[in-house]
Structure formats: C-alpha cells, structure tokens
Amino acid sequence: MDPGASLAPQRVVEELLQFLYLMPVAVVKLGATGAVEMLNPKAVKMLHDLGIDPGHADGPAILDGLLPGLAAKWQASAGKIGAIMPPQRCNPLHPPAGPLHLVLQLVRPDLQCTMLTIEDVTTTVEQERELARQRRRMGVVLEHIHGYCVALLDLGGMITEWNPSIGSLFGVAQGVGVGQPLFNWLDRDISQPPPPDFRTINAVVKQQGWCRLQAPWRKVDGQLLWGDCVITPVIEADGLAGSFVAVIRDVTDEHRRTQLLLDETVTDPLTGLYNRRGLEQHVEALLTRPAGAPLTQSWVMLDLDFFKKVNDTHGHDAGDTLLRSVAQTLRNTARKGDILARTGGEEFVLLLPDCAAPAAMNLAERLRLCVASLGVTINGCSVRITVSLGVAQQAPGETWIAALARADAALYLAKQEGRDRVMLAAPGLVSPA
C-alpha cells in the first residue's frame, strides 16, 4: 500500500522536502548551460565549507573548485547521456579544517540536466589510513621476531596471511601456503596419534578462548620441527570469532631435551626398547585415539629359552649381549609403528597395531627363525639361542591386559610343547598362573 496515497498533495510535498533536507549526501543539479538549478542543504553546507558560494558560483566554477579540470571534462561530454565520471575520490584545495576526502560522481540523465553527487568520506579514509598504519607497524614487529611464525587463519583453518618468519621456520618462500590449511604442515606419522582436525580446535577455542597444540610439523626439506602452536580467535564487533591467529614457536631443541629425560623413565637401558611403563604409555595413547574405526591389534610375548643356563655358563655380560642381540632382531624384523618392549628379565612384548592374528603369527614365526639363526659370539665361542612366542589377537571389547594375558598363556603352552615355537592363543585361553 502506498503510505503517501492518503496524504494531501501539500503534505506529500512537505514530506519530500523534509526528505531532501535531511539527505546526508550532497546532490547538485546543473542545467544544460551549467547554471545551478537545484541542490540539497548538504550540498550548500559542503560547498560553503570549501569556500564555494553556491548562490553565486555557476556549475563549472563548482566543478573546478572540487576537482580542477572537471568543468572541462563536463563540457567535453556535452551531448552524451549517462555517466560522465564514475565515483572518484578527490581532495579539494584549501579545505578549511584538516584534509577533506570527497567522492564525486557526475551523471547526465538527460541532455537538459547533469547531476553531481558529493560524498564526504573523510572519516572512512582516516580509518583506512589508521588501519594501514597499524598493519605496517604490526608487520615490522612480526618480521623481526625470530623462531615465531604468525599466521592468520580463516574460520576453516585456511591460511590467509602469514609473516615472513615462516620462511625460516618452514623453509618456504613468502606467500607459499596461503589459501591452504595450516594443518597441512603437521607431520602425519602413523605411529603417532593423528593430529586433531581443525573442527576440534575450533570447538576448543570457542570454549576456552584459545587452544594450544604441541605437535611435529614437517618442513619443506622433510626435516621434522616441533612446534608449540597457540591459536586464538579474533573477535569481531559482533562478539563472534571472525578469524584466528596462530602463533607457532619452534621448540624442537626443548622437545628433544624433554624427550630424552622422558625416555629414560620409559626405556629399558640395556636394549633401548620400551620398558613396561613405556609400553603402557604407548598403549594408552593408542587406545585413546579419538576418531576412526577401532584398530585390530595383536600382542606377541617372546621369552628366551634356557636363558638362565646362558647366564650361568657364560656370565651375566654374555646374557646382556644376547638380550641386546635379540632386541636388535626385533627392531629389524618388526614393522614401523610396532611397539617393542622388554618387560622382564628375558621377556619381550610386541604390540602390533592394525594387525590380525595371521599376520601376527607370520611375524612371530619370522622372529623365531631370525633369533634361531643368530650367531652370537661370546668369549670366543658361538652361542645359539631359541625363543618361544605366544600370539593373541585382541578381541573386540577385550582389554589389552586380558589380550596380553592370553598371549602369555600361549607362550606358556609353547614352552610346554618343547620351546622354540610359536603358539596362537585361542579366544578363551586363560593363563595357567
């Protein structure tokens, strides 16, 4: 419904006049000869501010007063209908109070008139300049911090911008990686828990205001880099996160040092394999993988046959040498990602992730053969040794402790059957102990 329909003509005129009085953009209508035919109050005010009296100045004088040469341009376009000048910024000469930034536009809707609009964008320009200044200052600060990489991310974790120190950190040229997910740079080693995806990070950031992630990253040349990454949201005026800032610090050296310290408590010093505690830690990490289908994993328990006799005959040093040789054989034979541990005197445990019973049996059999063919020379004489092995595939719903106990029971059977052999634990097998 037309709300003006019920108004008297006079009222309509008043409404239109008031509308024009309050229009925040200056509009000037020039006649064909250049006379100022009409203009709104905003135009009067702005022209007065610029020292142009619209009551006395004609169109060309106004045009040139705003932008020198504009009058000639207008005259040259005589006879042309449509846009004479698309929106253009200008800084009129001698503004009375500070620099003035205007946007001018000139349109000739018909041959009898030309419309000039003037918009004051001084505030916008000042804001843009201040923003540019801030960016330059931040740029200087960011370029000169070493060992830190600062990246701006969009809400999907894509890099929109990053500082030059990324070059030295990841070994890439400026601008490389922009538009790609930051987490593409994370190292993806299958033996490690998978890196969190960005949605997880996003949720954490939303909840606690920031998120920290210590993870291995992969440099362009393939080298590993340990990065301490803190992600914080950039809150926009509406109170919501509009983007993220990620600061990554190179902590490779620190990580190596703490890893060494940590290793001592989880490593068997004789063989360099994990000790029982190390095994448990890895199992915990592996079993608390957040996403993905549960893995089929198998356990192998390995025990040296008649090890006591070796110790008694050749001495403890000989026994240690033998243990180290067996450990090395395990390392050579196991797959990357298998967890190897020495859990007792002459007892070893292997956790084989993503491995069902047949493959586990194969591996155990290969281990048995490799150890049997080992020629270990101790005090000038060659000592031969055999091992017995028990294998158990962890059943769905079964705890790892229970699976390991079944492997142990299978090992016991292997010993009973005469040693130097591999036995597979049946689903219900229980330890005789």
Partner: protein
C-alpha cells in the same frame, strides 16, 4: 498583510513601526521574544526562535513559506542538525557557540531546493534564553 501598507494616522504609524521591527533594528531580539505568534507570523522576514540547545521553539509563517516546511515539522527539532543542515557549519551554526552574538551575513539558502542568496542575522545574548536566526529572502 495585517500590518503592511501605509497607515492612516501618525499615531497609528508610530504604533505599527514599534510593533513591526526592521530586520536590522538594534535590540530586536527582546521585541521578538515579547511578540505573540501571529505577530511573529506577520513579519516580512523569516524568524527561527530557538532555545540555547538550538531546539526550535517558534518558526514563523514567512520562514515556513520559504522553506516549504510547516512549523509542526520543525518545532521541537534541532534546527541546524535536523531542519536546515545547509547552515550546520562554522559560518552559521558554530557561531552560536559564542556567549553573545549579533552578526549579519550573506548566505545561500534554499527556496524549495533552489539556491537563493539571503541575508542572515544571528542573535544570541547573555540575558536571554532564546536565540534567533532571521532570514531576509
């Protein structure tokens, strides 16, 4: 034109002259404050009466005819900001920041969006709580 036209008697003339102050008469502000609305409407020049916050109190008929805005669209509003933004600048509006003001100025006003050169008289005094803008079209 109630007060215009030649008067018949000297006594009348004296009376009317007193009651129809000239645009540039000294001390006009006090006379305007004392005038009734219809007397203000009868003046041949535009009168905008404002309080010290520039809110329009009275807007006479001459000014209303020229601007095309009836008083009810103007009274109660901030004159320079909401009624006549063309004068919201250092030449006019900002002059009213002075404690006392009586200045006459050639300025361009709009008569239904057409530029017209007018004479403005800006009035403000320490004693009065009313401010005036007179417009001779």
């Amino acid at each position: 034109m109630k007060f215009a036209g030649p008067s018949k008697t000297g006594r009348d003339l004296e009376l009317k002259t007193m009651r129809i102050p000239e645009f540039d008469a000294p001390g006009i502000a006090a006379a305007l404050t004392a005038m009734a609305d219809d007397e203000l409407d009868a003046l041949p020049f535009g009168v905008v009466e404002m309080d010290r916050q520039c809110t329009v109190l009275r807007y006479n008929a001459t000014e209303s005819r020229s601007s095309g805005l009836p008083p009810e669209r103007v009274v109660g509003r901030h004159f320079f900001r909401d009624v006549a933004p063309c004068s919201d600048n250092r030449l006019v509006a900002q002059r009213y920041a002075l404690d006392a003001l009586d200045e006459t100025l050639g300025y361009t006003f709009l008569l239904r969006m057409r530029p017209v050169v007018v004479t403005l008289r800006m009035l403000k005094s320490v004693e009065s709580d009313r401010m005036y803008l007179l417009v001779r079209w």
